[in-house]
Amino acid sequence: MKRRDFVGLTSLAAGALFLPSFPSLAGEPVELARLFDPVMDAAINKRLADAALNAAKSAGASYADVRIGRYLNQALFTREKQVQNIANTESYGAGVRVIANGTWGFAATNNVSEAGLAKAAQLAVQIAKANAKAQKEPVKLAPQKGYGEVSWKAPIQQNAFEVPIAQKVDLLLAANAKAMENGASFVNSALFQVNEQKYFASTDGSYIDQDIHRIWPTFGITVVDRSTGKFRTRQALSASMGLGYEYLTPKAQDKIAGPAGSDVIGYKNSYDILEDAALAAKQTKQKLTAKSVTPGKYDLVLDPHHLGLTIHESVGHPLELDRVLGYEANFAGTSFATLDWKKQGKPYGSKLVNIVADKRQPGSLGAVGYDDEGVQTKEWDLIKDGKLVDYQKIRDQAHIVGQNESDGCCYAQSWQDVQFQRMPNVSLRPGAQKLSVDDMVKNVEKGIYIAGNGSFSIDQQRYNFQFGGQVFYAIENGKITGMLEDVAYQANTLEFWNSCAATCDQSDYRLVGFFNDGKGQPSQSSAVSHGSATTRFNGVNVINTARKI
């Protein structure tokens, strides 16, 4: 780990190590009042953007776009009865991307003035021209009409940044108290809030003003048994969402019970952190004495919180066109789902597998009106009736697969990073036939019900994966018979999706989200959601992960 990364993390407190992962708190710490300063004004931004676009054209760019961005983050960290850290960060600046001599160039500046942006534009053209010498594939952009002056706002009900910190801290501490009352030895909780204020303009004639919000409440609970030296953990079953603070006002209709015999509760568009913390503590205690799984083949019944991560890794990533083409070969990897593989028409999954990409689903992390290269967003099929039908692509990739429009999934994590193809929301369509989780479990002879996502690992071409979870229950002859521990399953992407035997209906459908999907060099984070209903996969290889040291 580099010193600059490590030093950045230490201020977030060691206790937070038990949280699943850190979102990138890009930006500099700022005081709270600063978060409400009106910085982004569309009229001023248009003038600034024009300065950049004109400078780029004068310097010889055939295309230019500019993103003026203000990125606000607030993160609250607590453990047991205490507040560990409250971090407010802001990052404000502009990035200019150009094509000159058929080559991309990019430069960014925190000097958001006409002169500052013009200078960045000139530098971007200079870099493009320098790199043109080593360019062998001149950039070809899919045509894009200008939209004029347009705007888009996330449909949130309550801006989380406007909720007093004391109220948010009280909620986290109340969740901690619930966990402790129910047997937790330790609890860490956190609330992450993000607001991206983005202004995009391009030489195509678009001026796009957007306001995007994301929220992620989470916790990690540990129960220690000192007499045996054993400890177990359980993470929150919350989702990170493209919602405001309304996500933290629980509604009865958003609670979805797991199968009878489990005490699992899943959450749809609102989350009951107090209920989940209490349940988590009870379940973690049970884990200490749960039966260790016997390795072998099982039918798996996977809840949406769990399955979303499997979709992310085994469908979302392999269908990113930049990976397919080799642009990510040195880091994230390539893909088994090459253009040749697609032509062969082999089944990706069983006929029940219908997977859709979208950048519009309300409440999802991926939802925006327009992407970071000014393309209006949409929904499109990736896998239809088990067959691969399309990839995820942006403007400079569409021609490679014989298409003439972008899918609108270009994204940069901040103004100072260059935008590139990122995963949209990728979701499994729920079953068309009415099917409840209880009805699904009834038909399973020897299986495991898994709720919550846990450990995850997949190879660089997305064939072989291994997933854990948060809680595991044995299914025997159609009934949940008790909790299991030390469970992980290993499978091959194609075998796994071809073993998909049933998926519950729309009433069980919900999203799970990931704040911190990493890709690119230098690495960038993006946030993405995955929807599904509880789904059954037959005959999957389960291993036992217990070891003695």
């Binding site: 201020s11 960014a108 530098l123 070891r547």
Partner: protein
């Protein structure tokens, strides 16, 4: 502007201290100038450059603290920044883990800055990428690589008169070379303080040779094998050794939620948990892998053995936890040195009757924090060894293994090399657990 001298940095920080009315104040000034080039499919894809200097001011009234920041350094901005930190501190909750600021400290000297690196130009980067691509084109192979370099400084001052300053440089390079049919892949990675030691061609050649040699890989049955893990397999992608080194936190061990927690209470400090050939230290002044000599509070980082001849020697104590337990706190900035022997990787291969050479492990994730069990896969050059020679390439495999178990199964320790800012030797390990095959190349 991004790389301020010690005097210029401290002049700004002294002004900050003169403006505060708080009980205590601490200010961190950090700057970095960096550049990168990225290539794939034998062509440059993106290149960038970034400069940044930022000041973080933290003020305390009793146990309450507040933070403010700025990146302009005129008197008025600095004064406003301090005032804001003070305003927030007055409104903040009390911190039960509060520790007073440190008094002035003595720091070791680390050779962590090289002018050769600070002077890197875009042409240097373009040349490195060009050389790497040219070598692969000549051999009808495809290169994808990334070069990033930077110069940075860190300066601290607090209201008790503590001063700290250090400069750093880094060059990080990695390249993956693939055969055009997609059936072979090889990897090389290296990092340096001094750019004069960086040779893009030599590293690309290693990756290219592995790519060519890894075509037509054969599948072998997963199971327990003797493996030679090259340094990239041990530390890149936050690997097996990194995870072990990061797991030495004393508080977590005391709280019972660490592999170092003892049944019934306490920690396993003093126990022999690893093979006698395992010694790992924090060592910021190591000439081959210099790193930070102070942490972000100005606590000195000194040589600290965490494992000595297989025995758990020290755990990391934050200042708060150290005070509570009446021990000295330990500075740690993330880098480590694992002692090696004299054998090269080639020597380790020669001495192996049957085994597997692993270039790189990938997508490593925790499976069980109780045992530090992790999973991941081999990648970009995996070969079967028989009678002291590389026999043939093999298909990649998934492993499930704990570094604690692995470091009890040592057959041989090679010569330590720098990687990821650390020093780590290649290791020959018996009974390394592979659990399934992967079709990935």
């Amino acid at each position: 502007m991004p790389i301020l001298s010690k005097d210029d940095a401290q002049a700004i920080l002294k002004k900050v201290m003169s403006f505060t009315k708080a009980d205590e104040c601490e200010a961190n000034l950090n700057g970095r100038t960096s550049g990168n080039v990225r290539y794939a499919r034998n062509t440059v894809t993106t290149a960038g450059a970034a400069d940044n200097v930022s000041l973080v001011v933290q003020c305390w009234f009793g146990r309450r603290s507040g933070v403010a920041t700025c990146n302009q350094f005129d008197e008025e901005t600095l004064r406003r920044c301090v005032q804001r930190a003070e305003e927030i501190a007055r409104l903040a909750p009390e911190d039960p883990d509060y520790m007073p600021r440190l008094s002035p400290q003595q720091y070791l000297a680390a050779n962590s800055f090289a002018q050769s690196t600070a002077g890197i130009t875009p042409d240097f980067r373009a040349q490195a990428a060009g050389d790497s691509i040219a070598l692969c084109e000549a051999r009808k192979l495809t290169a994808a690589g990334y070069l990033e370099d930077g110069a940075s400084f860190a300066a601290i001052r607090n209201s008790k008169g503590l001063e700290a300053y250090q400069q750093f440089t880094n060059v990080d390079f990695s390249v993956t070379v693939r055969t055009p049919d997609g059936l072979g892949s090889g990897y090389a990675v290296a990092d340096f303080t001094d750019a004069a030691k960086f040779d893009a061609k030599a590293l690309t050649k290693v990756a290219a040779d592995k790519a060519s040699a890894s075509v037509s890989a054969k599948a072998i049955e997963p199971g327990k094998y003797t493996v030679i893990l090259e340094p990239a397999a041990l530390v890149s992608d936050e690997g097996l050794i990194n995870r072990l080194v990061y797991a030495f936190d004393a508080r977590e061990a005391d709280e019972g939620r660490s592999f170092l927690s003892k049944k019934g209470g306490g920690t396993r400090k003093g126990e022999k948990l690893f093979d006698s050939r395992v010694s790992i230290s924090v060592d910021p002044t190591n000439p081959l892998a210099p790193s930070g000599v102070f942490d972000n509070e100005g606590l000195p980082v000194k040589k600290l053995p965490i494992i000595e001849k297989g025995v758990v020697k020290n755990l990391y104590y934050s200042r708060f936890w150290a005070e509570k337990n009446k021990v000295a706190p330990t500075g740690f900035t993330g880098n480590f040195v694992m002692e090696g022997g004299t054998a090269s990787t080639a020597d380790l291969i020669k001495s192996t009757q049957k085994g597997i050479l692993v270039t790189r492990l990938w997508y490593i994730r925790d499976v069980d924090p109780q045992t530090l069990l992790v999973t991941g896969l081999t990648r970009d050059g995996t070969f079967y060894i028989e009678k002291g020679k590389i026999k043939h390439p093999i298909k990649n495999m998934r492993f499930n293994e704990s570094p604690v178990i692995m470091l009890n199964n040592i057959e041989a320790v090679g010569r330590a090399q720098r990687l990821g800012g650390n020093l780590v030797p290649p290791l020959k390990i018996r009974d390394f657990t592979f659990t399934s095959l992967s079709d990935a190349v």
